[in-house]
Amino acid sequence: MPTSIPKQELMMSGHAACAGCGAVLAMRYVLKALGEKTVVSVPASCWAVIPGNYPAEVLKVPMVYTPFAATGASISGIREGLDIEGKEDYNVVGFAGDGGTADIGLQALSAAMERGHNVFYIMYDNEAYMNTGIQRSGSTPFGAWTTTTPIGKDRTFKKEKKKVVADIMMAQGVPYVATASVAFPEDLIRKVKNAKEIKGPKFIQILSPCPPGWYHNSEDTIKVSRLAVETRVFPLYEYMNGKFNLYKTNKFVPVEEYLKIQGRFAHLKEDEIKEIQNFVNERWEILLKKEGN
């Protein structure tokens, strides 16, 4: 039976990611879509340690490691340098976590997108600073436990809503913006390939579940990532050439189905879950309006 996604593997086995890691799936799929003429830039993040200890390398393409805030600038330099050498057909990809994108890397990302370099910026979103041990980031959703938003005696789990970087990218007018989930690799790969057709900056945010950080069983990574889409907690959309397309689910799945299999939400009370359902519904309405429905 032909496989539904390209067979070529540009990521190898033997890496040091946790069992069931969503971030490696994200990289595996992105590279399948881009092919071997690719250069990847990775800031301080899980991905900086996933290849393991020096001299191990896990990708079959060059990989540049940079300090935390530098991804947007790093891919700008790689792109211009390669173009000067006539290598305009090489793909240049910044592959950063949510911490390195929504927080410390936001400035460089926004500027790189504004300057219009022909680069991909992939944000693998595991919704916290996972590499340093599960601290909250701007991308951590409302209600989540993290080590810096512990429950404590005053129930101080994260009270702020998730800052969705893809929305910011659309507001900035980046020519290609999409959200994706590792549970739908065919869609993810199609999106990367669509983006490749555009000569300019492209941003894709990929929800990448993290078994230790989200406190779910390693075998549930795909299930969690699928439920995030089905419950509309993480809507999938594609913004291309000024047109916004929201993927609509055809059945209503209550947010509880998504929350109950993750230990990071185990402390939530019924009214808090209702609050989350309301947030999800509100955002869904906003996105529907954006599409013009």
């Binding site: 600038a73 700008s76 050498e85 500027a111």
Partner: protein
């Protein structure tokens, strides 16, 4: 002898740097504006727009990104350049370490400007002095000619296979950057002949897909990598000497090299200086010599690698030595003083004084130099702040 296309023009230090960048056939420029470096960037943008230089110019959103993008562009094998000053240099501090550790021969022009608070845009070397531990080589210019020549020479030294470390070239704020002097513009084809193209042995290559800067545990060659950086930096001393000779032959120039000895042959007392303040020093030396005082001046050009042996040779026969620091650091003494004293440790009995001078662009005058030379005759080794508090 082949006819050389050499012109002599009046230009500011910033223009001289931009012209040097053009002569060095830089192909990628990434910069963020900060007074008083802005004119370098503006001049380069203009040159790119008018096809006077074949380079790509991008204006980034911060100095951290300026250094990050310059670094990764260099990694693809393209000679790359950036410029900054003061707080901009501080903002990119993390990246300076990363570039040096990556062994990339990037060149950055730094216009030496004071660090706040309070805001101060005038000449002061604290910005680059506080980067002396990053693994970057450092050369301090006294004239706009040196500002231009240091770009060509700088890349040549940095790109040497046994060095492979980045280099920053300093010129004082406004005194050099915005002051016009006559500058000899080297012949373009001679410059290309001298510098050639960048040949980076480990550039980004799909056929050899490396990881650049991955995670290294304690038993990995971390210490070996750092030691190699240091060894390479001090190998650069011989490289600077060789390249200075070749540069001066090629261009009929007189770039001094690691240090410049001014009237040192029979001097009893000498001051060690760096940067444009040296000119006032030399003027004072001539003036005091007329009065019969046997004084001299040692000007350090290359501060990193530190030219210990050259200074040791220069101080032979001195009765007293003073070191000027146009920067504020908080060690036992000033930064340049500490390096001088460490190099001369156990090798001399001469009393060595430390003078702190000219911070925040405070004028360094002939009478300040006179006071400093007189101070050396007292024969002690204290630290004195010159022209502070109305004294």
């Amino acid at each position: 002898m082949k006819a050389q296309n050499v012109t002599r023009e009046i230009m500011t230090g910033n223009e001289a740097v931009a012209t040097g960048v053009k002569l060095a056939r830089v192909k990628f420029i990434s910069a963020y504006p900060i007074t008083p470096q802005t004119a370098i960037v503006e001049k380069l943008a203009e040159m790119v727009a008018n096809n006077k230089i074949n380079a790509k110019f991008i204006e980034v959103e911060s100095e951290h990104s300026a250094m990050a993008s310059t670094m990764t562009s260099e990694m693809t094998g393209i000679r790359s350049f950036t410029a900054s000053s003061s707080h901009g240099v501080l903002y990119m501090h993390e990246m300076l370490h990363w570039v040096a550790g990556s062994r990339l021969p990037v060149l950055m022009a730094v216009v030496n400007r004071a660090i706040g608070p309070p805001w101060n845009i005038w000449a002061d070397q604290t910005d680059s002095i506080t980067q002396r531990d990053t693994g970057w080589m450092q050369v301090y210019c006294e004239s706009n000619q040196e500002a231009m020549d240091s770009i060509l020479l700088g890349y040549k030294v940095a790109e040497n296979k046994n060095v492979m470390l980045p280099i920053m070239s300093m010129q004082d704020a406004f005194t050099l950057s915005h002051t016009s002097e006559p500058v000899i513009i080297r012949d373009e084809s001679d410059a290309y002949d001298y510098i050639g193209d960048l040949n980076l042995p480990f550039s980004i290559d799909l056929k050899n897909p490396l990881g650049y800067g991955s995670l290294m545990p304690p038993d990995g060659p971390f210490m070996e990598l750092k030691k190699d950086m240091r060894d390479s930096m001090y190998r650069a001393i011989e490289v600077v000497k060789e390249e200075t000779k070749k540069f001066n032959e090629k261009f009929n120039a007189d770039f001094p090299g690691l240090i410049e000895n001014f009237m040192m042959e029979d001097a009893d007392y000498a001051l060690i200086t760096m940067g444009s303040m040296s000119s006032t020093g030399k003027y004072t030396v001539r003036k005091l010599r007329e009065k019969g005082m046997k004084v001299g001046l040692i000007r350090i050009l290359f501060y990193r690698p530190f030219p210990a042996e050259e200074i040791l040779k220069s101080i032979k026969g001195l009765k007293g030595l003073g070191v000027l620091d146009r920067s504020i650091t908080f060690g036992q003494r000033g930064a340049v003083y500490e390096d001088v004293v460490t190099s001369l440790y156990n090798k001399t009995d001469i009393p060595i004084k430390n003078y702190v001078i000219g911070l925040g662009g405070r004028d360094i005058r002939v009478k300040d130099y006179e006071k400093m030379y007189e101070g050396l005759m007292e024969g002690e080794d204290s630290m004195e702040w010159i022209n502070v508090g109305g004294k």
